[in-house]
Symmetry: C2
Subunit: 471 residues, 2 copies
């Protein structure tokens, strides 16, 4: 069905992007064979890596690919966790890494225009320099704008400010045929035809290549503050969350963290977490228009927590304290990463989190794999890590492959079943990619999947655009 | 191409929804031939009005319609302004008016589940009784949930809280084939396949019939306050708006209102507007967590306005004063409606509003039609009313049809051209329907329109679902 890359195609690609934009050397191509998903078995080498410098080059590449029927897998920062940018059918790995221009920060309209290859970290810097604010904070700042859009990335701050989707106002997209469209614009509203912007967001690069985006910005909140609240058990911690929301408090973020992962991270960083009591923490980030409001808000939150048997309320009220806490939080993944097989990304209705987490603990007991779970308690998005290890006395004890491998699929399936029963979805912010494909039918009906396939067909009749992903 | 309704089809429809759910009497059907668009020439009688009571009945109706190839035009509150629910090709007018159940207000998840026929006014009541808040406020409370979703309705409060799209978390939709899908759920996030929810929002009933929605709610803001700021000229008023936003203030709403429409409304209602000076007003609605914050916020706004030659700042700080002001605001449309041919709904980047309004005033002069313009200054959504009248000494002077008719299309085209040049769209919140169809290509490229047609085909291969709309 697909054409393999030959020297004639390589020459045509070089004519489009120049010599330095085409990579065929296997050693240099190797990093393009995978993303951050841990298991090497999903990796697959591209036949060629192509690095366009602008939208016209992307269009030429796609025209060639659709003429010749070559699979094209777009690639941003490759920080994904489910193989979404793995060129699993070979063909072209289309890297946006050279398209790194912050085209404009338009302060009058509070809109940024950026190319797809801008990293999240460079984007924050540019926005901050303009005195503005971009609320979402998906974990890894090496992620690129194109990838954030492809997965509709979320992050902890989605509770109050929503996910990436809420901020994308316009896109420049190259369709699989090589046509360029620019749906949306610097507009707060539009009801002018089907919303192509929102269809392409979250489509994981299967409908076209995002080359540029118009992103809405906001004024920066005056004051932010982090609270750490220790509990003796996980259930009390999680049970607090719906009551905070029902008390009409809108936190920026509410994370829950088991002590065990905090301890491992403290050791790795040689830093200490400000609380020594408790087995589970809530990390609550608040924003407010003034210090006075913040004091009131913090007290209200503390009140709800103490009603739920919180052991204490630690307030990180200076930038230094806040940095220390958030610094440790942001390194947890790194601390457990070596033995992490897969990071799940289940989302359930907020009120179902406690029961879902209780089930995770049962499954951990039943299957004898450590399943450290933390995540965004207030938006229902739970990150369970399936580890190739047990935890004994606070130490990670690796298991041999023949012990963890047979349990991996069973654990996944158990948790996805629980997700389905609670009205959840198998991905809240990472996407489906390659890894979650076999489970899509757990949560979507055959009619929905068939409809998605017909939409795919409407965009990409030849099936060249990030094939083999989602369904 | 389409089949006409015959007695056999009528009997089949009666078998699905019962006798009382099927209307064929022309007098009773007459209201189903139009929406709120003023010109009778776009009205068209349905061949039959069908009123299903539940989703299964909707599915049966669509199965029949697709077997027989009968056009189906879904209909909610019919408060639309561009003919979106006009059965312009005959067939079935599918009225959701019997599906009025508020299925659930889930306070733990802060989500409402409602049927498509619930009116906005009943929805507000149910939400308020549960102690919660639904931020968007599209103008007409007779609108129904299904129609709000079909047009992605907006309203004044979209500046701070966004449009309907931001609140719809899940849908129940009957596809043109009669299949029922339920994308989304009580979920704050999802990256699980293509976002069907967001594709169906704003699709004006051309992709399927929305029968139920899961709608996110919020805690109610503690304090709201309205400010009225009079100016001597429109430009100074509108020039204030970007500076308010740049001062990091996020108002709930910013409306601009010319004195002339306020005066006409005062007379109609026999009530008085609190300000007598000025020719143009800004109406700014603020929300804040406390009275103290509100005082600070109001002062900051007043400061920016006075820097822009505002004549005064009137504060509606009691519920009574606020009700009086918002009451007059909400009746302006009624006051000018009799001579209004069409309400435009152009959206431009926020910073372009002043220049767009300046152009409207030029066009008013050039063509001799009164074009009273007011709208949502802070989100770029401008409602220009093309009147079949001139304004002389504050009085509306109707023009004979032969005078206004030839100017109507010229005025529309001039303003849509200006919209395009400013990077705008021809509809910010009303949709395209029948009336704006000829202008779609002013702002969308042939590639975008072709892609939308292919998406339509993917959902509705037989073209029975609200045909003749959008493109």
């Amino acid at each position: 069905m697909y054409t393999h890359i030959d020297t004639e195609i390589i020459d045509a690609l070089k004519a489009i992007v120049g010599e330095r934009g085409v990579v065929t050397d296997p050693d240099t191509m190797q990093p393009y064979s995978h993303d951050e998903f841990a298991l090497a078995e999903i990796a697959h080498m591209p036949e060629v890596v192509v690095k366009p410098a602008d939208v016209e080059q992307v269009a030429e590449i796609l025209k060639l690919a659709s003429q010749k029927s070559i699979p094209v897998t777009p690639r941003g920062g490759a920080t994904g966790l489910c193989g979404g940018c793995v060129p699993s059918l070979g063909g072209i790995s289309l890297s946006l890494e050279r398209m790194t221009r912050v085209v404009e920060i338009d302060t009058a309209n509070q809109m940024a225009v950026v190319e797809a290859g801008v990293s999240l970290s460079d984007f924050y810097t540019a926005v901050e320099e303009a005195g503005l604010y971009f609320p979402p904070h998906p974990g890894d700042e090496g992620a690129m704008i194109g990838g954030l859009i492809a997965t509709n990335a979320g992050g902890a701050r989605a509770v109050k400010y929503g996910v990436i989707r809420n901020y994308i106002r316009g896109l420049e997209v190259v369709l699989p045929t090589g046509e360029i469209i620019r749906p949306g614009g610097k507009l707060m509203k539009s009801s002018t035809g089907y919303n192509l912007v929102n269809l392409i967001i979250g489509a994981e690069g299967t409908l076209g290549v995002v080359t540029q985006a118009v992103i809405q910005l906001m004024p920066k909140p005056a004051v932010t503050r982090s609270l750490i609240i220790p509990y003796d058990d996980l259930q009390s911690a999680i049970d607090t969350v719906p009551d905070i929301i029902q008390a009409k408090i809108q936190p920026l973020a509410v994370e829950f963290l088991p002590r065990e992962v905090v301890t491992i991270t403290e050791k790795m960083l040689n830093q200490s977490w400000p609380c020594s009591v408790g087995t589970t923490y809530l990390l609550i980030i608040l924003d407010a228009p003034s210090e006075a409001e913040m004091d009131k808000l913090s007290e209200a939150v503390a009140g709800v927590c103490l009603d739920h048997e919180a052991l204490d309320v630690f307030v990180a009220d200076s930038p230094q304290k806040q940095e220390q806490v958030l610094g440790i939080r942001s390194k947890i993944y790194e601390a457990i990463k070596d033995h992490n097989i897969e990071t799940l990304d289940i989302v359930v209705p907020r009120a179902e989190i406690a029961r879902h987490v209780a089930r995770i603990q049962e499954v951990q007991g039943e299957h004898g794999l450590w399943l450290p779970t933390y995540g965004h308690a207030a938006d229902g998005n739970v990150h369970t890590h399936i580890m190739s290890a047990r935890l004994e006395g606070g130490e990670i004890v690796p298991l041999p492959e023949e012990e963890w491998k047979p349990r991996l699929e069973k654990v996944r399936a158990e948790l996805y079943r629980d997700c389905r029963e609670r009205g959840g979805m198998i991905s809240g912010e990472h996407g489906i990619g390659l890894v979650k494909k076999p489970y899509l039918s757990y949560v979507l009906s055959p009619e929905e999947i068939a409809l998605m396939r017909r939409i795919k067909q409407a965009f990409d009749p030849q099936g060249i655009m990030n094939p083999d992903k989602i369904f």
